[in-house]
């Protein structure tokens, strides 16, 4: 406290940071929560479709979380423990779903199994309706398993191999070692991954809107209330109900993460390689990973093929006209790139600043600030988007319809990743470095600018790239915020699909993925492949 009084500039910075987090995170959330009256909640209870949507959302969260976590675990185990070939390719493939728009897998799925799908219609001559929960389950499993893979691979790599060697040395066979040493040590990580995915599945909007068909879920129902009826009250009720389990999973995950994992107990990392696996085990994982890789390749191959096809399922002749549309005739792609770049840059600086303030300064309300900075990770995109229209539709902050509201939503929705990267990066910088700067005459903000920002280059790049990718691929947050004047690619894709312009949608989706890939690649180049972006 004394320090703040001596450094008014620092105090001002903290106040501004706190005020912005309140204004753009807490306030919109409060608006949504407080918007409906009791009658609106009674309506909800009386509406059987909405009650069903609630159950469906929870059931899907359980189903997809289990399968995605299981696939992610096996994939991670294969990459960390076995000597299967093509690990580099497998790692890259697992990144793809994470840098793709949420509905990307769904579009491919429709190309394969939809009404005019490659497999259903053309291979088997079927027009079976594959929309519904089964398809959604499959699609979400593919879309979200990479997150589990990343978290679990990190945990598995952190397990000191000497523990496993010690178990072998004491007479345990390979399976017993797995069961009694590896699995128990990995358990906190697996649970952590499951909770992270559960929040993603609950909030998932892109896949359900395309695949779920007449299977109601909370995010899609909330969306329909606004887009169909402009019924803000019901939308607020539905998304508030969605927020409850998402926040619950999130808080649980944070509590688990807060406990020290076993992995660090053995101290220094080991340079030992993992103990060799039995041949049969390696063979199983080779087949398993091959299968997963094949599915991912198929999903992307189909999408790209679709982008170069006249009309999927009808006229198979190759064409570039969808690309001509995407690049030259629509401004949506340009908008998406431009807004996302601005948002990601601001987000990276801002979130590192918040991380610095929280990890290095003492002031009252610090824990609250920390909570606000991670809170957006728990907020479903639909809820957040609705919050923004409710919060900023009248003076003094009438931002509805502007580009600013879109960029602001992208900035603040993506703070948690950058913030966490910043906290982790700062934890690695010895405090004496900053004290040395202060000792030589640098004020707190001087120190942040001269010493910490340059040293936080990797967290900065991580924050920037993840924010960019998430911003450019998001649909749920921005769908309520765009106007015809500043429409975005993801929203356009949804519209194209509505008009059955599948190939155009595929081309636009591919363009988004390419943009994300380019930025990711540039970042990797700029940091000499050191930035831990989408890499376990």
């Amino acid at each position: 406290m004394k320090k703040l009084r001596r450094e008014p500039l620092l105090l001002a910075t903290i106040l501004i940071v706190a005020a912005s987090l309140f204004l753009f995170v807490v306030y919109p959330a409060l608006r949504v929560l407080l918007y409906p009256d009791m009658a609106a909640y009674r309506d909800y209870l009386g509406n059987s479709r909405w009650v069903a949507a609630t159950w469906n959302s929870l059931v899907m969260a359980v189903l997809s979380t289990i399968t995605a976590t299981a696939v992610g675990f096996l994939y991670a185990y294969a990459l960390v423990y076995t000597d299967i070939r093509g690990k580099g390719l497998l790692r890259t493939l697992a990144i793809l779903p994470m840098i793709s728009p949420p509905f990307m897998v769904a579009i491919s799925y429709i190309f394969l199994f939809g009404g005019r799908g490659l497999i259903t219609y053309h291979l088997f001559g079927q027009t079976v309706n594959l929309y519904g929960w089964r398809g959604l389950w499959a699609v979400q499993t593919i879309a979200f398993f990479p997150y589990a893979y990343q978290i679990i691979a990190g945990v598995l790599m952190g397990i000191n191999p000497s523990l496993e060697y010690a178990a072998r040395n004491l007479g345990a066979g390979a399976w017993r070692v797995f069961r009694t040493v590896t699995l128990p040590l990995a358990r906190p990580g697996i649970l952590n991954a499951a909770l992270v995915i559960a929040v993603y599945v609950l909030a998932d909007f892109g896949n359900p809107i395309l695949i779920a068909g007449n299977f109601p879920l909370l995010p899609t129902e909330a969306y329909l209330q606004i887009s169909g009826w402009f019924n803000l009250k019901s939308a607020a009720v539905l998304s508030s109900i969605l927020l409850a389990p998402a926040l619950g999973f999130f808080l649980l995950q944070r509590r688990l993460e807060g406990r020290r994992s076993y992995v660090t107990v053995t101290g220094k990392g080991s340079s030992l390689t993992k103990p060799p696996q039995p041949k049969l085990v390696s063979a199983f994982f080779a087949v398993f990973c091959g299968l997963v890789a094949a599915i991912i390749v198929a999903v992307y191959g189909i999408l790209i093929a679709g982008a170069f096809t006249q009309t999927w399922g009808v006229r198979w002749t190759p064409t570039l006209r969808h690309w001509e549309y995407v690049i030259f005739r629509s401004k949506e792609l340009f908008n998406s790139i431009q807004f996302s770049l601005v948002a990601a840059l601001t987000c990276a600086v801002f979130s590192l600043l918040v991380a610095y303030i929280v990890s290095r300064q003492e002031f009252p309300g610090k824990r609250a600030l920390d909570f606000c900075a991670v809170l957006p990770a728990a907020i479903p995109g639909v809820f957040y988007g609705i919050g923004f229209i409710m919060a900023f539709n009248k003076p003094p902050l009438a931002l509805t319809g502007t580009a600013a509201i879109i960029v602001l939503s992208m900035i603040f929705w993506n703070i948690p990743t950058g913030y966490r990267a910043g906290i982790a990066g700062l934890a690695q910088i010895d405090k004496s470095i900053e004290e040395a700067a202060s000792n030589l005459g640098a004020s707190s903000l001087h120190t942040f600018k001269d010493i910490l920002l340059p040293l936080l280059r990797l967290p900065f790049v991580t924050a920037f790239v993840t924010a960019f990718v998430r911003a450019i691929t998001t649909l749920s947050v921005v769908i309520f915020l765009v106007t015809p004047g500043n429409n975005l690619a993801t929203v356009l894709i949804l519209g194209l699909i509505d008009y059955a312009e599948w190939s155009r949608a595929a081309a636009m989706t591919t363009a988004l993925i390419v943009s994300a890939f380019v930025v990711l690649g540039l970042a990797q180049l700029a940091t000499g492949r050191k930035a831990a972006i989408f890499r376990a």
């Binding site: 000792n439 030589l440 005459g441």
Partner: protein, 365 residues
């Protein structure tokens, strides 16, 4: 000693329930090399960091010169510090590291460059300007850290165990160099270390700290030969403690009854009376050892060699005398081979130090 330059007055600092620094008062003379010496957790680093302004004292005042600096933030104190881990900025070159403070001070570039070069030259770091800290050896990093502090022409130089990351040989040469630099600049320097040998070798004054308090403040000689309690005697160097009761008080010599035997020692101007309990300390190197009974010595003890260590420049013996073990250092082992079996110990009365008897047992470890 000249007037005090840095003054700590009744400084107390708590972290949670732990009292790190407990009511410390200390005057650091201008131009002196003053060491805060103590085991880890004794509060020496906390005290140093309060002088630098990284911690605020809970109570008490810190003065630098005439100025009370409690409210002055660390970046406005000009108390340049050399950190234990050096804390060199890893993303800056040697030159940039050393120039950093001057640039913040707003010095024009040519002047910055000139001062930096002069300092690098002074510390024999020429030609390393463009290196990154990680391209330097430990000793070079240490010197860059020192250069970065010295270039600021600080009012007070603070050194936080700056030698602890150097290997043993380098440590000795750097400490000689550092002392010379300090003497030549007449820079008030406060040095923190847990290494008593370093403290004795480098300091003008040593403040021995224990459990947050300064338990002895004096010249190295005073601290070593005239400890005032068991802790200081024990922490600084190796010592033989002897407990006894005074049986005879004369003007030149006192006699204590130690386990039934008389031990003669000099009075050191203390007002002691027969019947007083005393705690005596005798350094191992102050005891003579010989295979045959010496004649004419004031104190002779007869014992058995229990163990010995050949340390090169000396031999250390553990000698059992009536059930207690004495540590004796034979400073010149070149004259005869290691002793064993029966030996005689001689102690000059002037080399027996009386730890004031009221402190007997306090702080014992």
């Amino acid at each position: 000693m000249s007037e005090p330059h840095v003054r700590l007055v009744n400084i107390t600092k708590r972290f949670g329930n732990t009292v790190a620094v407990d009511n410390v008062t200390l005057d650091v003379a201008r131009g002196s090399f003053t060491t805060l010496l103590g085991p880890s957790g004794c509060g020496k680093t906390t005290a140093l960091r309060m002088i630098a302004g990284f911690h605020d004292p809970d109570t008490g005042d810190i003065f630098i010169g005439e100025r009370r600096v409690n409210e002055v933030p660390s970046h406005q104190r000009n108390t340049a510090m050399v950190f234990q881990e050096y804390a060199l900025f890893p993303h800056m070159s040697v030159f940039e590291n050393v120039a950093y403070g001057l640039t913040i001070r707003g010095l024009p570039r040519p002047q910055v460059a000139q001062k930096v070069r002069a300092t690098l030259k002074f510390l024999a770091l020429e030609g390393l300007d463009d290196r990154s800290p990680h391209q330097l050896s430990g000793g070079q990093q240490q010197r860059v850290a020192l250069a970065r502090a010295l270039v600021m022409e600080p009012e007070v130089l603070l050194l936080d165990e700056p030698l602890s990351n150097l290997d043993a040989k380098l440590r000795v040469s750097v400490r000689t160099e550092m002392t010379q630099i300090q003497r030549s600049l007449k820079l008030t320097t406060i040095y923190v270390t847990h290494d008593q040998e370093e403290a004795l070798a480098m300091s003008d004054a040593i403040a021995v700290m224990h459990q947050g308090r300064v338990v002895r403040f004096g010249t190295p000689w005073e601290v070593y030969y005239r400890p005032r309690d068991r802790f200081v005697a024990d922490f600084v160097g190796l010592v033989n403690f002897v407990e006894g009761r005074l049986v005879e008080v004369g003007p030149q010599v006192l006699v204590a009854d130690v386990a039934g035997r008389p031990l003669r020692f000099a009075p050191e101007g203390l007002a002691l009376r027969p019947g007083d309990d005393v705690l005596l300390s005798i350094r191992p190197e102050c005891i003579g050892i010989s295979p045959a009974a010496p004649s004419g010595a004031a104190n002779v003890l007869h014992g058995q060699v229990a163990a010995s260590q050949f340390l090169g420049r000396l031999v250390r013996y553990w000698v059992a005398v009536d059930g207690t073990t004495w540590v004796v250092d034979e400073p010149d082992p070149s004259t005869y081979s290691l002793l064993s079996g029966e030996v005689y110990l001689t102690i000059e009365p002037g080399k027996v130090h009386v730890i004031a008897e009221e402190n007997k047992g306090e702080g014992g470890r």
